[in-house]
């Protein structure tokens, strides 16, 4: 011991500091950061100076000047008197809406088709295979244009339509459905809905506890349905139907009133979902196939029915394989939503390119695009990583 403590410091002081791994790694990291910061500063400074030399305005001040253009789909109030910044916020919200809607439908499609590809039924299996092989191999832009110009644009126009009792119209202006206008007492039904959900969760927890304690399973489905659906309807009837339906009516040019879902949204939504759904189907298939046959057999041996075996044994294990690539597909869908530009769905890139051209601030707008997509993608990643950790097999 004493020999070692004496010789160690001597060796360090005698040789170069660079041989000390801690010092060396700190030196390398610090110099890398300095280089990176310096390089970034050099780029920014150089670009700013050259823009000034070419008489091109720069800076983010334009975000506060009047936009002057209208946007077709505005989830929050917007007029052409608002600023470029507000226009871009509308773009971000529209991107989030189309991504969320696309992810939901693509996931449903993907799971149905993925399980369908493993079905014992020849017809279902072949249909699923054909779907996957076709849509996986077509660029998403073509699928969008197909729906927009090939399907929705050739529908008949809104003029001279025969009225129907449901007030639902599918025209080349989109899908028009009646709007529900709630009266003053409608909040009671909403409150009943929330109460119903909370009560259903409480009962579900108690049932689970009961099952763990005694092994007896209590039926939940009908109780939950009665609480979540039945209770609000009951309250709605008791309070005297505080809502009216607003039906679309034809004016000189369009159908007015009701809720309009524009063909740009429908085309983009269907195309993104169908395209990404094909990839998710393959991921789901791979996930299920990764669970060894023995697991299924063991489940059967325990007396689980086929549906139960799938739900309780196979799918939880398949999820470990499914979730990481599924995350990539969700990110792809979010980024592909920028193709909405081609059909005029006002998402971030479409609105941004209008802002870019009206204001001339290309570099700034591109920076905003990159920052927003990076933020959205990282948020989705963080959520999916958390979900993945939660679904990971707890090994004992």
């Amino acid at each position: 011991m004493s020999v070692e403590t004496e010789t160690m410091p001597r060796r360090v002081s005698g040789s170069s500091m660079l041989n000390n791994p801690t010092v060396r790694s700190i030196v390398i990291q610090v110099s890398l950061i300095v280089l990176l910061v310096g390089f970034t500063w050099w780029i920014v400074d150089n670009t700013a100076r050259n823009l000034a030399a070419a008489n091109i305005a720069s800076g983010f001040g334009f975000l506060w000047s009047r936009a002057g253009f209208d946007i077709a789909i505005t989830p929050i109030p917007y007029t052409s008197n608002e600023t470029y910044g507000q226009a871009l916020i509308i773009g971000v919200i529209n991107t989030l809406i189309i991504s969320a809607a696309g992810i939901a439908l693509a996931t449903i499609l993907g799971f149905v088709v993925g399980i369908g590809r493993l079905s014992g039924n020849f017809l279902i299996r072949m249909l699923s295979t054909v779907y996957v092989e076709i849509f996986r191999n077509i660029p998403p832009l073509l699928v969008i244009l197909f729906w927009y110009f090939g399907v929705l644009s050739v529908l008949s126009g809104p003029r001279g339509l025969e009225e129907n009792a449901f007030g639902v119209y599918l025209t080349n202006r989109g899908l028009q459905i009646p709007a529900i206008i709630f009266g003053a007492l409608a909040w009671a039904s909403l409150a009943a809905f929330v109460v119903g959900i909370v009560a259903a969760i409480v009962i579900a927890r108690r049932n689970k506890k009961h099952q763990l304690a005694t092994g007896e399973r209590k039926p939940l489905l009908w109780t939950a349905l009665a609480l979540i659906v039945g209770l609000p309807i009951l309250v709605f009837l008791v309070t005297g139907l505080p809502a009216v339906l607003e039906f679309p009516t034809a004016n000189r040019f369009n159908l007015a009133g009701g809720v309009q879902i524009r063909p740009e949204f429908i085309a983009l939504w269907l195309a993104l979902s169908i395209y990404t759904g094909a990839f998710i189907a393959e991921i789901v298939r791979a996930g299920i196939m990764s669970v060894s046959k023995g697991q299924n057999e063991a489940a059967s041996a325990l007396g689980l029915r086929r549906g139960q075996a799938l739900r309780l044994v196979v799918v939880p294990q398949a999820f470990r394989v499914i979730i990481p690539p599924l995350t990539s597909q969700y990110l792809n869908l979010t980024k592909n939503s920028s193709l909405g530009l081609a059909v005029g769905y006002p998402e971030l890139v479409a609105v941004g390119s209008t802002v870019l051209n009206q204001s001339g601030q290309s570099i700034e707008v591109v920076c905003i695009w990159m920052a927003v997509y990076l933020t959205i993608s990282l948020s989705v990643s963080v959520f999916m990583n958390w979900f993945n950790a939660k679904m990971a097999l707890v090994e004992r």
């Binding site: 202006r173 040019f253 530009l341 081609a342 005029g344």
Partner: protein, 339 residues
């Protein structure tokens, strides 16, 4: 189209890095390259479009040819870059093109904050509306509640918003990036109204399945002076494009045509002799040869000839000279004197 835009923007950033060296001496660069790079519309009949042999033609295209002829004495030495509305300014700013002749409206904002310099107005235009005849609409003021197709990133888009707001009318905008997609959306019935510059409407109507079923409304809601633009910071190059435009106008005013330009050289008229470089070498002052204007007129004719050949009353567009007649005939086109 999206990736093309991003490439253009990336290119702009890199051009920004490379330094401002590209700004001056455009003429030398063009001469060295042996070709003029000219940004034109992706397809607007009468202004810039490709015929069935793939050759570019149109009023804007003739301006590219005129500048090439002034420099090289050869109108074919042009490389055309078809650009969308969104792509056009970055393409000029990052030196992908030497000049932009793409029915672009001259506005103060573009002239001052984008680093552009407009060299003149080769077509005085204004924004109009086109609707289907069977709607029975006679005035733009009847359009409240209509769905309107418009190209994104244009002054048209801004005028549209202002016009409907100031007249307290509602509308549904359908905003699409490429004019051809805007036209097909209108033609398929996605919109009730198509709006763009009046000349563009006349051109777009030709692309409709049945042009006779569409009517252009009488209201002109804006001033759209369209003209060629160059980058700021190279005065010589700016002068070349500007004086090419004036030479075309002066030639029309003096009666110098593609056909008679050779015999006009021996004219007694001092104005004609100055234009054609017989008395004094004006070409030298802009870095060109003495017969620069002769080359222009030989290649494309004078302004009137360009107009009539591409968009005039004997073409499918059937556009009258109107505001684009010479000042001597009650129009706005006025060529500055060459002396």
């Amino acid at each position: 189209m999206n990736s093309k835009l991003l490439t253009a923007l990336l290119g702009m950033t890199i051009a920004g890095l490379a330094g401002g060296a590209a700004s001056a001496q455009t003429l030398d660069t063009v001469k060295e390259r042996g070709q003029l790079r000219c940004g034109v519309n992706t397809g607007l009949p009468g202004f810039a479009s490709q015929n069935d042999q793939g050759a570019w033609q149109g009023l804007d295209v003739d301006y590219c040819k005129a500048v090439a002829a002034a420099i090289f004495g050869d109108a074919s030495k042009v490389q055309y870059s078809p650009l969308s509305a969104v792509q056009r300014f970055p393409a000029l700013q990052n030196s992908e093109i030497d000049m932009l002749a793409r029915n672009t409206t001259w506005t103060m904002d573009r002239d001052t904050t984008l680093g552009l310099a407009f060299a003149g107005v080769n077509y005085y235009d204004g924004q109009g509306f086109m609707v289907k005849k069977d709607l029975g609409v006679n005035s733009a003021l009847e359009l409240s509640g209509a769905t309107v197709c418009v190209q994104s990133g244009t002054t048209t888009e801004l005028n549209l918003a202002d016009y409907f707001r100031t007249n307290k009318m509602d509308y549904n905008p359908v905003v699409i990036e490429a004019q051809s997609d805007v036209n097909s959306a209108y033609d398929s019935g996605r919109c009730d109204v198509l709006t763009t510059d009046a000349s563009g409407l006349a051109a777009s109507r030709l692309e409709m399945a049945s042009p006779e079923n569409h009517v252009i409304l009488p209201e002109i809601i804006s001033k759209e002076p369209l003209g060629p633009a160059v980058r700021q910071g190279d005065d010589q190059w700016f002068n070349i494009v500007k004086w090419t435009h004036y030479a075309l106008l002066d030639a029309e005013e003096l009666g110098v045509t593609q056909e008679n330009v050779e015999e006009m050289k021996s004219s007694d008229n001092p104005e004609i002799r100055r234009l054609l470089g017989e008395d004094k070498d004006f070409g030298a002052s802009i870095g060109l040869s003495k017969d620069w204007a002769v080359n222009i007129i030989k290649a494309v004719g004078n302004y009137g000839e360009i107009f009539e050949r591409n968009i005039g009353v004997n073409t499918p567009l059937e556009i009258q000279r109107g505001q684009n007649a010479l000042w001597t005939k009650g129009g706005l086109q006025y060529g500055m004197p060459i002396r």
